[in-house]
C-alpha cells in the first residue's frame, strides 16, 4: 500500500469558519424542517372554528316546562368522527316560542350533568356539583353556572347553535 497523499492541512482560521458554516447550515435545516412541523402540531389553534345551526326536533314535539336531552352534530365534523361528533344539550321549552338549551358539560371539570325531573336540579356525577333548573350553581365546586347554546325556531324546527365546548374563560 503506498503513501497516503494528504492535502495541505486547514488553518485554524479556516477551521473556525467551517465550524460556523456547519452550525449555520444545520440551523437552517432545523428551520426548514421545524416550521411546518411545529405549525402542523399547532394547527388547532391556528384554524378558525365555524358554527352551525342544528335541528333537534319539530316545535310541537316539545312540551312547555319539560327538560329533555337533545343530541346534535358538531358544527364541522370530519367524515370519520363517527359517534363522537355528537354533542348533547338539555333543552327546556319555556313558553310557546322560546327555549333554553344548557350545555351538558359541568362547568367545574366537564363531566356530563344529569337532569332530575323530580328534584328539578342538574346533578354532576364527578364531584357533586349541583345546578338549579335555571342553570345557576346550587352547590358543590362549579365556579359558574351551566353554559347555554343559542336556540331558535326556524321553519317549524327547533334549532340549537353548535358552537364547540363552552370552556372559554
Amino acid at each position: 500500500m503506498g503513501e497516503y497523499k494528504a492535502p495541505a492541512p486547514y488553518t485554524e482560521e479556516r477551521r473556525r469558519f467551517l465550524n460556523r458554516l456547519s452550525l449555520a447550515l444545520s440551523a437552517l435545516g432545523g428551520v426548514i424542517v421545524g416550521v411546518p412541523f411545529i405549525g402542523s402540531l399547532l394547527e388547532p389553534i391556528l384554524h378558525s372554528n365555524p358554527t352551525a345551526w342544528r335541528a333537534v326536533g319539530k316545535l310541537d314535539v316539545f312540551q312547555i316546562g319539560q327538560t329533555v336531552e337533545v343530541t346534535f352534530l358538531n358544527a364541522d365534523p370530519l367524515a370519520w368522527t363517527g359517534v363522537s361528533a355528537k354533542t348533547g344539550a338539555w333543552l327546556r321549552r319555556d313558553d310557546a316560542t322560546s327555549f333554553t338549551a344548557f350545555s351538558i358539560y359541568c362547568q367545574h371539570l366537564g363531566c356530563p350533568v344529569r337532569w332530575n325531573q323530580q328534584e328539578q336540579i342538574f346533578l354532576c356525577p364527578c364531584h357533586g356539583g349541583v345546578y338549579y333548573a335555571n342553570g345557576k350553581v346550587a352547590g358543590g365546586p362549579p365556579p359558574r353556572g351551566l353554559q347555554k347554546y343559542p336556540v331558535r325556531v326556524h321553519k317549524g324546527q327547533v334549532e340549537v347553535l353548535a358552537t364547540g365546548v363552552p370552556y372559554t374563560y
Binding site: 389553534i45 314535539v61 365534523p77 361528533a85 366537564g110 332530575n116 346533578l123 358543590g140 358552537t163 370552556y167
Partner: protein, 632 residues
C-alpha cells in the same frame, strides 16, 4: 465447530464485541451483599416493563384504527376476533401498570439512598423527566381506549388545562384538536402515544443508561460517610479498583431474576384479570357515564375533588408546577452531605408523608364519597318504621325529592352529605327547615321544589331518625293514628289504600316475548295496570333486555307515535327516555295519577313502542289498584 469459532472471531474483530461491548457489561460495580443488593433492581425492572409495553404495543398499533370514529370498533375487534388480541391488550395494560409501580419504587429508592447527590445530579434530572414522560404515555394510553370514559378523560383534562392563565384556551384547543371533539382528536393522541412519547422515552432512557455507566452506580450509603464533591470521584474510582466486581454476572443476575419475576407477574395478571373493559361507545352526548382515571391516578383525582373550590386553580396549576420544580432542583440544593437515610430525617419524613398521602388518597378516590349515588333505591319500610302517615310520606320523599342521592339513612343512600341516620337527635325541626330551605355550600335549596305539606312530612320523617327509632321498628309510629287501610301485594304491584300509594315493579325485556320488547314479559297492551285517581305511584324500573329501554306514561292516543311521547303526568318517565338505560341498570321514578282516563305505558326509545313495547295504565275514579296479565 472450528469453522463457527473462526466465523465468530472474524465478526468480533470487525464489530468489536470483545473489545467494546463485553467490557461495558462487565464494568466494575461496588460489591454488595444481603438485602441491600436487591434495592438496585428497580431501574431495570422499570425498563423491562417498558420493553414489554413496547413489544405488546406493536401488534396493537398494527390492528388499532386511530380514527375518532373507528377506534372503539377496532378495539372491540381486537378483543373478540384477533388471535391473542385480548391477551395482548391485557399484557399491554399490566406492563403499563408495572412501569408506574416500578418507577415509583425506583424513585423512592434513589431518593432514600441519596444517590441523586454528586456526581449523579444529571441522572436524577433525567429520571424526573422520565417520570413525567411515563405518566404522559400511560395517561394517553387510557385515552386511546376511546370509550365513554376516554372521551370524558379528554374533556376533563381540557377543562383543567383551560385554567392556565393567558394561554388557557390554546391549551384546550390543542388537546382537543379543535374547539370540540373532532376527527383528529384521537389521531393526535395516537401520534403522542405511539411516536412522540416513545421516541422521547427511548432517547432519554439511552441518556439515563449512559449516565449510569459514566458516573458509576452508587455504592450503598453509610452513616458518617458524607459526599464531598472535592474528593468523591477519586475515592469512588479507588474503591472500584480495589473491591469492584463485574456487573455481569455478579450484580446483573439479580436484575435479570427480578425482571423475569416482573414479566411473570404481568403475564399472570394478564391471564387471570384480563384486559381493561370498554365502558361503551364514545358518545359525548351520553349523560350516563361516570368518568374515572385508571387506578394509578386515583390519588390525583381525589386530591382535586377534595380541594376547596377557592383554592382549585392553585392546586391544579401551582402544585404540579411546584412538584416538577422541586423534583428537578433537588440535586442542585442537596447535592452533598450525608447519604444515609438514618442521618437524613427530612428525607425519611418526605418519603413517609408522600407514601401515606398517595395511599390514602388512592383509597378515597376509589370510594369517591363526593359523587352522588344515582343507584339509590327507595328506603324499605323496615327502615322508615312506618307504613302510613307523615313519617311514611317523608320517608318516601327522602328518595323522590333526591335527598337520598347525597345522604344516607340506615346504610341506604349517598355519601356526599352528612349521614342522617340519627339526625333527629342532632337538629331541631327549625334547624332542619332552615337547612332544607336554604341549602348549603354543597347542597341546593329545596324551597322551590317542596310544597309546604311535603316539607312537613320530610321534617317529621327526619325528626324520627334517632337512635331510639332502631328499637321501635315494626311498630307504627305514634305521630299519626294507626291506619286501617288495606294492603295489597303481588309480585309486580303493592299498594296501601290508606296512604293512596302504589309501588309498581317494571322490568323491561323480562322475557324474550315480542323479541324482547316487553314489560314484565308482556307488551302490545297485554298487561293492564289500574290505579285509582290521586294515587302516588312509585315505579321501580330496571332493564334486563339486551337493548336500552325506558318507561314512560303517555296519553293512550299517543302510543303509536314513533318517538318523543308527551308525558301524561309530571315525572312519569324514567331518566332520558329517548336513550333509555342499558341492561342491568335501574331508573326509578314516581308520579301522582291526578287525572282519570286511559293511558299507555310505553318505552320511549324511538321505534320500540311501535314494535310492541306498550302496555295499558288505567286511572279509575275509585276502587283499588290492580295489575292483570293474561294467564299462560
Amino acid at each position: 465447530m472450528d469453522g463457527l469459532r473462526r466465523a465468530w472471531a472474524a465478526f468480533d474483530d470487525r464489530v468489536g464485541v470483545s473489545a467494546v461491548f463485553l467490557p461495558i457489561i462487565k464494568h466494575p460495580v461496588p460489591p454488595t451483599a444481603g438485602a441491600i443488593s436487591w434495592a438496585y433492581v428497580f431501574g431495570s425492572a422499570t425498563l423491562v416493563s417498558f420493553i414489554v409495553a413496547v413489544i405488546s404495543g406493536i401488534p396493537l398499533a398494527a390492528q388499532y384504527i386511530p380514527s375518532t370514529g373507528q377506534a372503539y370498533q377496532s378495539i372491540e375487534w381486537i378483543n373478540t376476533r384477533a388471535i391473542f388480541g385480548y391477551q395482548i391488550r391485557a399484557i399491554h395494560y399490566f406492563s403499563a401498570n408495572a412501569m408506574m409501580i416500578m418507577i415509583g419504587i425506583h424513585m423512592f429508592r434513589v431518593f432514600l439512598m441519596g444517590s441523586y447527590k454528586y456526581p449523579r445530579e444529571v441522572n436524577w434530572i433525567l429520571g424526573v423527566i422520565l417520570l413525567f414522560l411515563t405518566a404522559g404515555i400511560v395517561f394517553t394510553g387510557q385515552i386511546l381506549r376511546w370509550d365513554q370514559v376516554g372521551v370524558y378523560t379528554v374533556m376533563i383534562t381540557v377543562f383543567q388545562g383551560v385554567r392556565t392563565p393567558w394561554i388557557g384556551n390554546w391549551v384546550g384547543d390543542l388537546l382537543l384538536g379543535g374547539n370540540t371533539i373532532t376527527g383528529v382528536t384521537v389521531s393526535r393522541f395516537y401520534a403522542l402515544h405511539v411516536f412522540i412519547l416513545p421516541g422521547l422515552l427511548f432517547a432519554v432512557i439511552g441518556f439515563h443508561l449512559y449516565m449510569v455507566l459514566h458516573a458509576g452506580i452508587s455504592e450503598p450509603p453509610k452513616s458518617g460517610r458524607p459526599v464531598d464533591p472535592k474528593s468523591y470521584r477519586v475515592w469512588y474510582h479507588n474503591m472500584l479498583k480495589r473491591d469492584g466486581v463485574p456487573f455481569w454476572p455478579d450484580a446483573a443476575w439479580r436484575d435479570v431474576s427480578f425482571g423475569i419475576a416482573v414479566l411473570l407477574g404481568i403475564t399472570i395478571l394478564a391471564i387471570t384479570v384480563g384486559a381493561p373493559p370498554l365502558a361503551g361507545p364514545p358518545n359525548p352526548a351520553d349523560i350516563h357515564v361516570i368518568p374515572r382515571p385508571d387506578w394509578y391516578f386515583l390519588w390525583y383525582f381525589a386530591a382535586l375533588a377534595l380541594t376547596p373550590p377557592s383554592m382549585e386553580n392553585v392546586v391544579m396549576l401551582a402544585a404540579p408546577l411546584g412538584l416538577i420544580v422541586g423534583l428537578l432542583f433537588l440535586p442542585i440544593w442537596a447535592n452533598k452531605g450525608e447519604r444515609s437515610p438514618a442521618r437524613r430525617p427530612w428525607a425519611m419524613i418526605t418519603v413517609l408523608c408522600s407514601g401515606l398521602m398517595i395511599f390514602s388518597l388512592t383509597l378515597t378516590g376509589a370510594l369517591a364519597p363526593w359523587s352522588p349515588n344515582f343507584n339509590a333505591t327507595p328506603l324499605p319500610t323496615k327502615i322508615i318504621g312506618a307504613t302510613s302517615g307523615a313519617v311514611f310520606r317523608g320517608g318516601m320523599l327522602f328518595h323522590t325529592a333526591g335527598c337520598e342521592d347525597c345522604h344516607s339513612v340506615g346504610g341506604y343512600g349517598g355519601l356526599r352529605g352528612p349521614d342522617l341516620t340519627n339526625v333527629g337527635g342532632r337538629l331541631t325541626s327549625a334547624d332542619m327547615i332552615i337547612r332544607i330551605m336554604n341549602g348549603g355550600e354543597n347542597m341546593p335549596s329545596f324551597a322551590r321544589i317542596l310544597s309546604a305539606s311535603e316539607l312537613n312530612d320530610l321534617v317529621a320523617f327526619l325528626q324520627s331518625r334517632t337512635v331510639y327509632t332502631k328499637y321501635a321498628l315494626g311498630q307504627t309510629h305514634t305521630t299519626a293514628p294507626p291506619p286501617s287501610g288495606k294492603q295489597g301485594t303481588s309480585r309486580w304491584l303493592t299498594w296501601n289504600t290508606a296512604s293512596h300509594t302504589a309501588t309498581l315493579t317494571l322490568i323491561a325485556g323480562y322475557t324474550n316475548a315480542i323479541s324482547g320488547f316487553n314489560f314484565n314479559g308482556f307488551g302490545q297492551g297485554q298487561m293492564v295496570i289500574s290505579v285509582p285517581v290521586g294515587y302516588h305511584v312509585s315505579v321501580n324500573f330496571s332493564n334486563q333486555g339486551a337493548l336500552p329501554h325506558s318507561a314512560e306514561i303517555t296519553p293512550s292516543a299517543d302510543k303509536s307515535l314513533p318517538s318523543n311521547f308527551p308525558l301524561a303526568f309530571p315525572g312519569a318517565a324514567s331518566i332520558n327516555p329517548a336513550s333509555g338505560i342499558v341492561k342491568g341498570q335501574t331508573a326509578n321514578f314516581s308520579f301522582v295519577a291526578n287525572k282519570a282516563g286511559s293511558y299507555a305505558l310505553v318505552c320511549g326509545v324511538p321505534g320500540h313502542a311501535a314494535a310492541g313495547m306498550w302496555d295499558i295504565l288505567k286511572v279509575t275514579a275509585g276502587g283499588q289498584p290492580s295489575l292483570v296479565m293474561p294467564s299462560h
